[in-house]
């Protein structure tokens, strides 16, 4: 009886611990992946800012993505990071497209 119980507990422990290790490994991989996306988003945001083209919410989105990552919500964090990166790229392109003065045609000289 006693022996059987010990065996059972050992088995259980093995399963539980083994399970945790694999999920931990998977966790680390996703975490690193999402962290990369967040870093890329922040780089895009900074590039837009360097030409005065940063959008209002990009920084907030990145902050929120970081929080979600901490909580382990990788899917949501990755999506936000990707959206923020897109904003960074668009903001940069927008500012570059406006580099030269464009006077509106309704002003008559």
């Amino acid at each position: 009886m006693h022996k059987k119980l010990i065996l059972l507990l050992t088995l259980l422990a093995a399963i539980v611990c083994g399970g945790t290790t694999t999920t931990l490994l998977a966790d680390e991989a996703s975490m690193a992946k999402v962290q990369k996306l967040i870093d890329a988003a922040d780089a895009a945001r900074k590039e837009a800012a360097s030409v005065g083209g940063e959008w209002r919410d990009t920084g907030k989105m990145i902050k929120k993505a970081k929080k979600l990552l901490k909580k382990g919500d990788y899917t949501a964090a990755a999506k936000l990071a990707n959206d923020a990166a897109k904003q960074g790229h668009l903001g940069y392109e927008q500012a570059m497209s406006q580099k030269d003065l464009k006077m509106p045609s309704y002003l008559h000289y």
Binding site: A49, G52, G53, E54, W55, R56, D57, T58, G59, Q87, L90, Q94, A95, S97, Q98, D100, L101, K102, M103, P104, S105, Y106, L107, H108, Y109
Partner: protein, 279 residues
């Protein structure tokens, strides 16, 4: 949402047709700018543009005239006068920095050759404080609005007359940068200042009549019912940038200083009537 962006993008495309980059002098810019509004609102006296949206919105004007009977900015002027007269810790006062007295708004913004930058009234007040060992005031909210209200009120009747000195090409460059800022699209909504305050002046955005850009600088600081307090011009810039979902710039940093330089120049000839009151 996507659809909205597509429409906006399309609008952007159509609007840019016919737009040209032209090298024009500030004098030519001023004439084209003021002519535009004279044609757009032929029944408004040029001097009346200092009243913003109320120069073109008769219903709003009635409300506003009632508000002006007991001006909500008056306590701020009183507090500002106290600030002006209260000595700093070193015994000096603002008057030591500004010997000609508080009626000085008409001198700002101006190009400072030694510093190589546009000096705004708020900046000058803070430079005075720092020179006397006081902490600078925050630029958007708080007591800066009191002292600026007092100065504005003492300066009523002065005439906007921004100069772009010809002996320093950097002054013209600052003006040009402000101008470019004004006409550049920005933010997720892809709007420039001119889209709302020139092209669409007089149209209604949500519940507000879009005010014409001419006269935009004469009445600041302004008591805004929405703010429940008086706010500076750069606070307004911040709000208008955020509205189109662009990240605002630092108050009295280079971008907004140059913007103020350009925008105030566009009101040259109009009287100063601050502080103002707005919805």
């Amino acid at each position: 949402m996507k659809k909205v962006f597509r429409t906006l993008a399309l609008l952007a495309l159509t609007c840019s047709i016919g737009a040209t980059a032209q090298a024009s002098t500030p004098e030519e810019d001023l004439k084209a700018f003021q002519d535009f509004f004279a044609k757009r609102f032929p029944n408004v006296e040029t001097q009346d543009f200092v009243n913003g949206a109320y120069s073109i919105d008769p219903v709003g004007r009635e409300n506003w005239e009632a508000i002006e009977e007991f001006p909500p900015y008056e306590p701020f002027i009183d507090d500002g006068m106290t600030m002006w007269e209260t000595p700093f810790a070193n015994g000096k006062t603002y008057k030591d920095c500004f010997p000609d007295g508080p009626a000085m708004k008409g001198k700002y913004p101006y190009w400072n050759k030694e510093k190589g930058m546009v000096i705004t009234l708020e900046l000058a007040l803070n430079q005075c404080r720092e020179a006397n060992g006081e902490k600078p005031l925050k630029y958007k909210k708080g007591p800066i609005n009191n002292i600026v209200s007092y100065v504005a009120s003492e300066s009523r009747g002065q005439v906007t007359n921004v100069e772009i000195p010809k002996d320093d090409p950097r002054a013209l460059q600052a003006y040009e940068n402000g101008k470019k800022f004004y006409y550049a699209r920005r933010g997720q909504l892809n709007f420039s200042c001119s889209h709302c305050h020139l092209q669409n002046a007089g149209m209604i955005l949500r519940t507000e009549v879009l005010s014409p850009a001419i006269g935009h600088t004469t009445h600041f600081p302004v008591y805004r019912s929405k703010w429940g307090t008086v706010g500076t011009l750069h606070r307004r810039f911040t709000g208008c940038n955020k509205q189109v979902r662009a990240k605002p710039f630092k108050a009295h940093g280079e971008e907004y200083r140059n913007l103020e330089y350009f925008l105030t120049y566009m009101s040259n000839g109009l009287p100063l009537n601050g502080p103002g009151a707005r919805k």
